[in-house]
């Protein structure tokens, strides 16, 4: 039996672009680099209006340990530093660069001894390169590579599951850059001093599996490349760990490192490899542009900061009935109100749905079918939690584990009553956290 996790669901795959080779996207005239594209503290801009910048030059300096810099994806002149529409919701300070020339790929001088770099050097270079998790969460990678001594790591897992329907950027990467992925993975393993190195691919991508396997065999035979049955959300960090090792990461704030694991996305591996070997900053990434709302779904290599309009153009433009623009996959992506937002480090795909697909049924009362319960990959009772959240019975919701929801969307996807379970749960989560924070502040004040 193939390894997998408990719960989960099987949305249709819609991998329209698995067979489309990735093409580099032409550099836009204006490029928009938000100062924060990761989880943690925002960077501090170090350039100002009219500054000349060359490709790869840092535009911000990191604002703390859990923070990373952003770099100039092109050479040009800083047009302005303004608040600008951002895919994660709020407007954000954004460095706008007027492109002079694309200035190459931003690679610095090669370090001939890159393979022997020490963990500290690796971490330093990864941090300086501004690498954040490229699977979507965008957690600064160097933080993941710096587990405290009390938490020894024995297993590194490279996440090539790409369980979100539609998206194929990781798939293409595994086909086109397999060796670089493996090299990056080996650097990760070395940095965290782990023994085991897993690479996980879902079995709807047998070619990617073969490609990784071949690359792994040629570089290090101890790497285990695993094929997992297709199931959503297999690519969720904790679910992937459970599928491969049988270990369950305790509820938040525990992290994978608490069970001795580090998970890295395949894209991050390539970035890590390039950062260590050439000190190349993260200024470009693979992006899938797909869905029923674009004419010619495709995969591109886009500079960070490229407005989505350019990507849409690369995919042949909108169809007439394009109705919903989503950054990310259909299960967890954000619906966007404008296509002027830029590609950021966590942008794995841009999905455009047509009118017909964009309409989701009307919310009806829960009929208690229990389907949401059986698909929840963290074994919650989504219907109850959602209802308690709706009623703002926060304590009860907390008791049922509202904070442990990973917002994978499986429950909403499967609910025959079309309940917006995740939406209610998100509300509950935010409210519970706010309440908790308040309680702590009060306590602190009292003390």
């Amino acid at each position: 039996m193939k390894k997998t996790f408990r719960g989960g669901t099987h949305p249709p795959e819609f991998k329209l672009t698995s067979g489309v080779a990735t093409t580099p996207l032409p550099v836009p005239e204006l490029i928009y680099v938000p100062i924060q594209q990761h989880i943690g503290a925002p960077g501090v801009p170090v350039v100002k209006k009219k500054d000349e910048v060359t490709v790869g030059q840092p535009l911000t300096q990191s604002g703390g340990f859990v923070s990373i810099p952003a770099h100039a994806p092109v050479s040009g002149v800083v047009k302005d530093v303004i608040p600008y529409a951002n895919p994660v919701g709020k407007e954000m300070m954004t460095v706008v660069i007027e492109t002079k020339d694309d200035g190459g790929d931003g690679k610095g001088e090669e370090d001939p001894n890159w393979a022997d770099a020490t963990p500290d050097v690796i971490r330093e270079r990864v941090k300086n390169a501004g690498i954040a998790g490229m699977g979507g969460a965008a957690f600064p990678t160097h933080v993941k590579l710096s587990p405290p001594e009390a938490k020894p790591i024995d297993t590194v897992i490279i996440n090539g599951a790409e369980c979100e329907p539609y998206l194929t950027s990781d798939h293409r990467l595994m086909l086109e850059r397999a060796e670089d992925i493996v090299r990056g993975a080996m650097l990760v393993r070395k940095t965290v001093n782990a023994k085991k190195l897993f690479m996980a691919v879902e079995d709807n991508k047998p070619d990617a599996f073969e490609s990784l396997k071949k690359a792994a065999a040629s570089l290090d035979s101890s790497i285990q490349v695993e094929m997992l049955p297709v199931k959503y959300p297999q690519g969720a960090e904790k679910q992937l760990i459970s599928a491969l090792t049988g270990r369950e990461v305790p509820p938040p704030p525990a992290l994978p490192m608490d069970v001795g694991c580090v998970v890295q996305n395949v894209g991050s591996c390539v970035a890590i490899y390039e950062a260590v070997r050439w000190q190349k900053p993260l200024i470009e990434r693979y992006v899938t542009i797909t869905g029923s709302g674009v004419k010619k779904p495709t995969n591109v290599l886009a500079k960070i900061g490229t407005p989505l309009t350019y990507l849409i153009e690369a995919a042949g433009g909108y169809t007439d009935d394009a109705a919903k623009l989503i950054m990310g996959g259909p299960m967890m992506g954000n619906a966007l109100w404008t296509d002027t937002v830029p590609v950021i480090k966590g942008t794995s795909g841009v999905l455009v749905l047509n009118k017909e697909q964009a309409i989701i049924g009307e919310e009806e009362p829960c009929i208690g079918c229990g389907r949401c319960v059986s698909v929840c990959p963290v074994f919650l009772l989504p219907t109850n939690i959602a209802r308690l959240s709706e009623l703002e019975r926060l304590e009860d919701a907390d008791e049922l584990g509202v904070l442990e929801c990973i917002e994978c969307g499986s429950c909403t996807y499967i609910c025959p009553a079309h309940r917006n379970l995740v939406q209610h749960i998100r509300f509950g989560k935010a409210a519970v956290m706010a309440a908790k924070r308040k309680a702590t502040t009060k306590k602190e004040k009292a003390a």
């Binding site: 529409a85 979507g136 956290m433």
Partner: protein, 613 residues
């Protein structure tokens, strides 16, 4: 995008929320504050009601940009515009805080919201709000209306006071005028206010979605955003409209909603009609065995149920849900649980009762605590016990002398087999056993008969399985019901646990305790196939609404049903106990769910500790 985002994003999410979500409770202490909040809550409620109207009015002026400016203009605009702008910003902030709308990191509603808040001003906005909150608190303490505001944030104090006062007044007026504006007036420092607002917004979103669906797909939640912003902006914010238009002009309008953006094909309607469809074979079987009459009774029950639901919803001006099929199914099941010889009005009244008393008053499908069809049956049994316990017809009665397939008028008491009125196999058996356990004083031939009954049922099992036997209309043919059940299992509409546990419990228990010669003398197969067990276990103990949602819970539910059924069959006064067993267990559903929560992911140690302690 891989879904490990949320946990981590949450951390990010948290600090962002602070100003908004923190605010409410801080100010919750003072009486003044409370009073004001009460007032404002009222205002908000009114506002919510009036919202629809206001939205409609504002429909024209929609366009995200103008509204967006509102937040940005605070410094230069005159008092009124500023007030509006800030109110606007406050509302948007509240919205951003409401994860129900979509947590920030998800970026759906907040995107436009943030835009509306025109982030250049965001920091100012926060600082100002903090000041306001503080001011409010002080003011309450000093119990001197406005004086207190002065000291905490010198830069803004006087302005502040005046503005707040004005705002509050505006809120009251707006409430009276039932203008949607009132909702936004008070600062974000208002818990209840915000709640109301959010609720109202959520409602609005839902309504918008409905409207969108009706229109064949214009934007849904987004629509709400749009409507709402202009509701203020367009009406009284003219001056604030100007500036901005900088970079972001989307090339087209997009629908905004919370993820996920795709959905399984399953729907309530589909499930209900599929379940109904799987009962078609059993209906045909019943018609063959009990004649055309049975089909008519089923049709009467189903249509009465639909009519009742439709009529009630018409009466209360609610949206009709007849099409979801659950009423039809309920009516069908009411009829299935009737003896085939009952008069026509029995299923009609039963179905009416099921819908009008056991379902709709609770809120319709999804909210009823007990299986409506079974409540309907229980009501009939209590009200017309003779009809419900004596109107049995033997299989193929219509082939007897003087009747035909389409015979409607039949007097069950007149149909005699071997000189006695027909009784169901369970009844016959029950009386036989009681005869044998207590034979004193009974004539010999009665005892012999009882012996015969008990020992001859073995060959009759096949009849029970196929359904050529007496009993309720829909319960007799085990095989046809099981075929339907298997299909439902395959579709995942029912969980095997409930029927399995139910049937196994009754079977084993019947074998163990059901005989006349002590333990293990009972007839297991007889107990399984006679009476309404299969119908109950497959179709009624699996009713989604009234049974547990957890897997373990469903096992327990099934076992409970089985035990109660056994008790009624073997000890109680009725020959059959399936319906009451299910009804009683329905009542325990919330309790079962509560105690069978699955172990949550990663709670390994906790789980074992709980098991021990």
């Amino acid at each position: 995008m891989s879904p490990f985002a949320p946990d981590e994003e949450k951390q990010n999410d948290a600090p962002d929320e602070r100003p908004e979500s923190d605010a409410p409770e801080t100010s919750a202490d003072s009486d003044d504050e409370k009073a004001r909040r009460k007032e404002e809550r009222k205002a908000a409620r009114e506002a919510a009601k009036a919202k629809a109207a206001a939205e409609a009015a504002a429909e024209k002026g929609k366009e995200p940009a103008p509204a967006a400016d509102a937040g940005a203009s605070s410094d230069e605009e005159d008092e009124k515009a500023r007030k509006k702008a800030e109110r606007k910003a406050a509302r948007e902030a509240a919205k951003a805080a409401a994860a129900a709308e979509a947590a920030e990191e998800k970026g759906e509603e907040p995107a436009p919201a943030a835009d509306a808040g025109a982030s250049s001003d965001e920091e100012d906005e926060k600082a100002r709000r903090k000041a306001e909150r503080k001011a409010a608190r002080e003011a309450a303490k000093a119990a001197a209306a406005a004086e207190a505001g002065g000291d905490d944030k010198p830069a803004e104090s006087d302005d502040e006071k005046a503005r707040r006062k004005a705002e509050r007044k505006a809120a009251r007026e707006a409430a009276k005028a039932a203008a949607a504006d009132a909702g936004g007036d008070d600062k974000p420092a208002e818990t209840d206010e915000e709640k109301e607002k959010r609720r109202a917004e959520r409602k609005a979103a839902r309504e918008a979605a409905k409207a969108a669906a009706a229109e064949g797909g214009d934007a849904k939640p987004e629509k709400k955003e749009r409507k709402e912003r202009p509701a203020k902006a367009a009406k009284d914010d003219k001056p604030a409209k100007k500036e901005k238009d900088t970079a972001a002009v989307p090339s087209r309008k997009f629908i905004l909603s919370s993820s996920p953006h795709i959905h399984d094909k399953e729907s309530v309607r589909r499930i209900m009609w599929t379940v109904t469809a799987t009962l078609v074979p059993a209906t045909i079987g019943a018609t063959w065995v009990f004649g055309f009459r049975a089909l008519m009774l089923v049709a009467l029950g189903a249509s009465a149920a639909m009519l009742t639901e439709w009529g009630l919803q018409k009466l209360f001006k609610a949206k009709s849900t007849v099409a979801d099929g659950s009423a039809f199914l309920t009516g069908l099941l009411v009829s299935f649980n009737l003896p085939p010889g009952v008069p026509w009005w029995i299923p009609v009244i039963g179905a009416f009762f099921a819908i009008a008393i056991a379902k709709m008053p609770f809120g319709g499908l999804g909210w009823n605590p007990m299986n409506p069809a079974l409540i309907g049956r229980a009501f009939l049994l209590a009200s017309w016990p003779l009809h419900m316990t004596k109107d049995w017809l033997p299989a193929f009665w219509w082939k007897m002398q003087g009747y035909n397939f389409f015979t409607w008028n039949v007097n069950p008491a007149a149909i005699k087999l071997d000189g006695v009125s027909y009784a169901t196999p369970l009844e016959v058996r029950k009386s036989a056993i009681s005869t044998l356990t207590n034979p004193e004083g009974l004539p010999n031939d009665v005892i012999t008969r009882a012996m015969e009954v008990l020992h001859s049922t073995g060959d009759k099992i096949l009849d029970l399985v196929i359904g050529v036997t007496g009993g309720c209309i829909g319960e007799t043919s085990a095989i046809l019901l099981l075929i339907g059940g298997v299909y439902l299992l395959y579709k995942g509409y029912i969980d095997w646990r409930t029927p399995f546990a139910f049937i196994a419990t009754v079977g084993l228990g019947g074998w163990l305790f059901g005989g006349a010669d002590g333990f293990f003398s009972g007839d297991m197969l007889f107990h399984i196939f006679a009476g309404g067990l299969i119908l109950g276990a497959v179709y009624m103990a699996t009713d989604m609404v009234t049974t547990p949602i957890t897997k373990k819970g469903r096992l327990i539910f099934g076992i409970g049903c089985g035990l109660i059924t056994l008790m009624i069959r073997l000890i109680g006064g009725y020959p059959e106990g399936v319906s009451y067993a299910i009804l009683l267990m329905n009542l325990t559903t919330p309790l079962i769910d509560r105690y069978t929560k699955p172990r949550r992911f990663g709670h390994i140690k906790v789980a074992t500790a709980e098991a021990r302690g």
